[in-house]
């Protein structure tokens, strides 16, 4: 992975920058010792590592603003960081950057059930947002699988999704407002407890901007009352085509499950060996979950099962207890762990039009043979967001590169059939250089022009999202 050469001027003034930062933050909030900065050298894309110049852990919006003013003044790049669970290298530092972590900002600032929102500091983890309102029957809908660890800050920056986004949408659909600090240290409120923007939808462009437009310190999030109940059903089919057709028929029939998850044979086998969930031995498996009262669930499942039966499933498994429901979900929830048990893996995240599912799975199978690397598919079928998991051996020279080339081919395939490079994990450094496959030069230029407006010096998370070649003139001009 190419990264720009660290700015020698910045490296040379580390001492001065750190001492300026110490003037505005408590002693334990500035980490400059080389052994300690290692804790921030990577995110969940662990193949790439680089310790930062220093890391800071401010405790308030004002402290964030003070840090940014100094870095702006000194021309030091800043990499915002939530919990560091990005799979795209979004929070990976560069050697000349300061990591600005919001991990100490975890307060709930306001809970309002009548108006259905919660306002939190963005270092708070996703799960603990729901945790704060759970006793009163409410929840925050977007639920990435990493929800125990990942922070709202990262969710907003990546516009993260979750298993239930088919019904509830992704982060951007549940985000009402933010407090943000721009690189020059200016604090601003965007959106709030009311709906939609009065002017341009700046909130819409901030969400998903991967930490490149500003540091988000507080967020107003929509909360909902929990449904009365939820129940999954599992179905097995003897081909990916048929499973894909079944998904399409259910959607067309006007039923909106909260989740439709898909696993293919390699993935089913791996999870069976690992979690022993008792999944059928078949080509493709669907887990479909619906919500409501018991009678509502029965009515929806009756429709879904009737559609499934027209596709000759090899297995239809209903649940009549929480234990049985948990068993249905068990294999799906341990899919990543199971694959990790076999080997190192790389998790992709392209989205395709659901109609292209059978074709894309067939092509992935062919590519897998060409590259000699196994791949398992587990994904959100209702919205076409795929997660092919490519297995490789990190200790075998050349295997990572081969895996990356295979991954790039799959993502290009997603674009080719009308989809995109990333459905929820973000571009980061991982997909940065593939952006030219999805966007023409002018399309990238207008996106970079947005960054020019928010961060004219290109100091926030500068080497991410855009191909280095495309962003080079701007980064150079800024230096």
């Amino acid at each position: 992975m190419d990264m720009p050469t660290p700015n020698p001027e910045v490296l040379a003034k580390k001492g001065r920058v750190v001492s300026r930062l110490r003037q505005v933050l408590p002693a334990d909030a500035v980490i400059s010792d080389e052994a300690e900065t290692r804790a921030y050298e990577c995110d969940a894309l662990t193949a790439y590592r680089c310790p930062p110049l220093a890391a800071v852990l401010p405790a308030s919006t004002e402290e964030v603003a003070a840090v940014l003013k100094i870095c702006h003044d000194e021309n030091v790049p800043v990499v915002p960081r939530g919990a560091g669970t990005s799979l795209a290298g979004g929070s990976m530092p560069t050697a000349d950057s300061i990591i600005l972590g919001v991990a100490r900002m975890t307060e709930v600032l306001e809970t309002d059930y009548e108006n259905r929102f919660i306002r939190v500091q963005t270092g708070r983890t996703n799960l603990s947002v729901s945790g704060a309102v759970e006793e009163d029957g409410f929840f925050y809908a977007p639920d990435p699988s990493s929800q125990l660890a990942c922070a709202i800050a990262g969710n907003i920056a990546m516009n993260s999704g979750g298993a239930h986004c088919l019904k509830y949408g992704v982060t951007t659909n549940n985000l009402m407002g933010v407090t943000m600090v721009t690189m020059d240290g200016e604090i601003m409120e965007i959106g709030g407890a009311h709906l939609d923007a009065g002017g341009l939808d700046l909130l819409g462009v901030i969400c998903g901007s991967e930490g490149q437009l500003g540091v988000v310190t507080e967020a107003t999030l929509r909360i909902l009352h929990k449904p009365e109940g939820a129940r999954p059903v599992l179905m097995g089919f003897d081909s990916n085509e048929v499973a894909g057709q079944c998904v399409s028929d259910i959607i067309k029939a006007g039923i909106l499950p909260v989740a439709i998850e898909f696993m293919d044979r390699p993935c089913i086998r791996a999870t069976e060996d690992f979690a022993k969930a008792g999944y059928p031995d078949c080509e493709a498996l669907l887990i479909i979950e619906v919500e409501g009262s018991d009678q509502e669930i029965d009515a929806q499942l009756e429709r879904i099962l009737a559609i499934a039966r027209t596709h000759n499933p090899v297995e239809l498994r209903e649940s009549s207890s929480t234990e049985e429901s948990a068993r249905i979900w068990l294999g799906r929830k341990s899919a990543f762990g199971a694959m990790g048990q076999i080997n190192d893996y790389m998790c992709l995240d392209g989205t395709i039009p659901v109609s292209q599912l059978p074709y894309v799975l067939r092509r992935i199978g062919e590519l897998s043979k060409d590259y000699g690397l196994d791949v398992g598919n587990v994904f959100h079928a209702g919205d076409g967001n795929m997660h092919p998991l490519i297995l490789f051996d990190a200790n075998k020279p050349g295997d990572l590169e081969k895996c990356e080339a295979f991954g790039a081919d799959i993502l290009r395939l997603c674009v080719e059939v009308g989809g995109c490079l990333t459905g929820e994990h973000g571009v980061g450094i991982e997909k940065r250089d593939l952006m030219v496959d999805q966007y023409a030069a002018a399309d990238l230029d207008i996106q970079m022009a947005v960054k020019d407006v928010f961060d004219p010096k290109w100091l926030l998370n500068p080497a991410k999202v855009f191909p280095l070649q495309s962003s080079e003139p701007r980064r150079m001009a800024a230096e």
């Binding site: 009548e114 108006n115 259905r116 029957g137 516009n159 949408g169 951007t172 721009t182 601003m188 709030g192 407890a193 009311h194 709906l195 939609d196 923007a197 009065g198 002017g199 341009l200 939808d201 700046l202 819409g204 462009v205 969400c207 998903g208 901007s209 009352h225 449904p227 009365e228 399409s248 959607i251 067309k252 006007g254 909106l256 009678q295 509502e296 009515a299 989205t351 039009p353 959100h380 919205d383 076409g384 009308g418 989809g419 995109c420 490079l421 990333t422 459905g423 973000g426 571009v427 952006m435 999805q438 966007y439 002018a442 399309d443 990238l444 207008i446 022009a449 947005v450 020019d452 407006v453």
Partner: protein, 379 residues
Amino acid sequence: MMTPASEAETAEMVASTKSALLIQGGGTRNIGAQNIGTPFSTAALSGVRLYEPGALTIVAGAGTPMAEIEATLASESQRLAFEPVDHRGVLGTNGTPTIGGAVAANVSGPRRIQAGACRDSLLGVRFVDGAGRILKNGGRVMKNVTGYDLVKLMAGSWGTLGVLTEVSLKVQAIPEAAGTVTLRGLDATAATKAMSAALGSPYDVSGAAHLPVGKDGTAVTMIRVEGLETSVAYRTEKLKAMLASTGADIEITHDAATAAQAWAWVRDVTPFHNGAGDVWRISVKPTDGPQVVAAIEARAPGAQVIYDWGGGLIWVEVTADTDVRALVSQGHATLMRASDATKDRLGVFQPEPAPLAALSAGLRTKFDPRSILNPGLME
């Protein structure tokens, strides 16, 4: 009037124009003050380009009539989730509402509180910026975080950042049943409480509106649920029981035609059609609504209001030239209908706080360096 026949022609015309352009779809949502510039119509960029009912997606030229989109979707028992408003009645315009116009104005009806705004259904855009460049962002798939989300930025940008040429949208199936729980006689505060309770319930409410003066002259609060028949029957009964403590007279309607008419009445702001007063559209935190309205009534006696979105959206009809915006401290107010003089004096859009105004102005300069696309409309 310039009417390009293709995206390429749109780009050529924009690039070569020497004067400001007044971008319009069907011209039915023309809320700008001066309306300066040469009319520039997207009407010929029309037609459904791709429709995949099984993937819940439709792609269409920006100038495609709304009616055509709706008919295409209805043929597969589908619809646009955000329940777009038809502005002709309230704004006194005629013309053919287009999908591009709905997107450019981020127009969302009662279902906004459940299914999201127009911007939440929008998957991708193609547009021509003020320099005449053909650009795209997003795509036609449901989940897409590839690069910055300019799709959201274009929704609600009222043609000031670019001329939309093509949009792709997520659609939804028309549920088999809908039911409305109607409460009569509540004042605004009690109605807001009732709507909050309903929206804070597990019953997945898809509409919550309050008319202080309903069709029959009494106050009416309406709460809608949609879904399978069994579900709607169950949920409306649950809501009725839950709201019994309001003391209001409560009734449940399952008749589809009556319900559709009642909700269209709210959606299209029918009570204010053909009126003489100014019309404001205000977005607030729902529980702030009644106080905001009380302040408006104190300043302009006789003001008429409609609450939608559980009280979060307030339509107001007031005596001409009343500065309603000054009475809204949190949220925003748009002056939808007024004389040009009033629009000039009060501004159509809510002024943004200085740091946001600077960002918005910066974006406009990048997207429209010559300031030719609906200049001044949003400022």
